[in-house]
Symmetry: none
Subunit: 226 residues, 2 copies
Amino acid sequence: MGAVARAMKNMGLTQLVIVEPQREVLDSEARARAAGALDILRQATVTRSFDQAIADCGLVIGASARLRTIPWPTVDPHQCAQLVVQTAATQKIALVFGREDTGLTNEELEKCHWHVHIPANPEYSSLNLGAAVQVITYEIRMAELAQQGQTVQVTADHPLATAAELEGLFTHLETTLQQIGFYDPENPRQLFRRLRRLFNRAQLDKMEMNILRGILAAVDDKTSAS
Amino acid sequence: MGAVARAMKNMGLTQLVIVEPQREVLDSEARARAAGALDILRQATVTRSFDQAIADCGLVIGASARLRTIPWPTVDPHQCAQLVVQTAATQKIALVFGREDTGLTNEELEKCHWHVHIPANPEYSSLNLGAAVQVITYEIRMAELAQQGQTVQVTADHPLATAAELEGLFTHLETTLQQIGFYDPENPRQLFRRLRRLFNRAQLDKMEMNILRGILAAVDDKTSAS
């Protein structure tokens, strides 16, 4: 339960409902594993039955590791998260996870609208409860962020070098390489094509451009003095 | 380490490398947490240094929870998995995770081509190591499954330079820049951090690496002759 609380809080979820806990919710191991997510455990609701836990929910999705005799509508964690964010504005949603050892019963699984299945390695597919909650809640956070138009963005600290500045670099490079005798006029095209491809691909920013021009200038100084 | 091994095996990954472990890799807690993934722990390679661990890898992706002074090319776990499956056919890849408490050092992060950031709840963003590995490996499995049946071809004409070759380039660069007087021992770190970031981002292939080493050698010849 501690690992579950931590995964939830890491991914921005808060409402934990525990059905018929077999041990004290706030025991020492759970506290230790919850770390900074102890508030989630403290605020957890304890219910006596599965039905009570899901009673006011408009969408119930149950985690299932098993192939079942009657096929149920099943989504992967990514699709599950799409369902959740599409529905969350208007409905209360339950994501239901089973017991650490045996999962959800057939009866419980049949009360779910959807099953969510984590497509683990068939040779070793038993995720522990905390790991399963981590994966499902991670996808929900990713879907939420995507919906808000937020993604992981790299904020360059300098604007990118312009095409003209890049041409300046290539001209300088050609001159300097000629001066140090690296440039082979017999077969220059392949070399410069490769250098162009490299520095274009790198998408140099202005500061990096300045560093490279500075290095070339230092080489020029040193070699023209000789 | 037990939780890491379990997450890996659940998601179909097998090769674990542990750098300078602070405790016995197969101690009782690790064994308990690994459960059915004990084979991953048993087969784990232990290395003495970060450099040694990544030496033969063409793509190095480091998990980072921090915002850094110099922005590094950063992907979310989903994008990370795309990079991994696109590259895995031709290159050895390292996914690097830091210490449970402090993560990767700046020096280690600067040896990565990319950083992967799990966009956790800003109010409680500290995933434990096992949880972070679970999320990243889950996305890789999803990407692998999505890719099955497709033939994605990497069109690079030369294999990527390895991390060890990159270190060789940086060492050479430092020596040469010192020789031509470009290197300022008063303030070297920012310069080299930028050069590292640039050439990591470019994901140099072996031919490009040879060209750059060749240019440095030509500068060396010219300036030592003077």
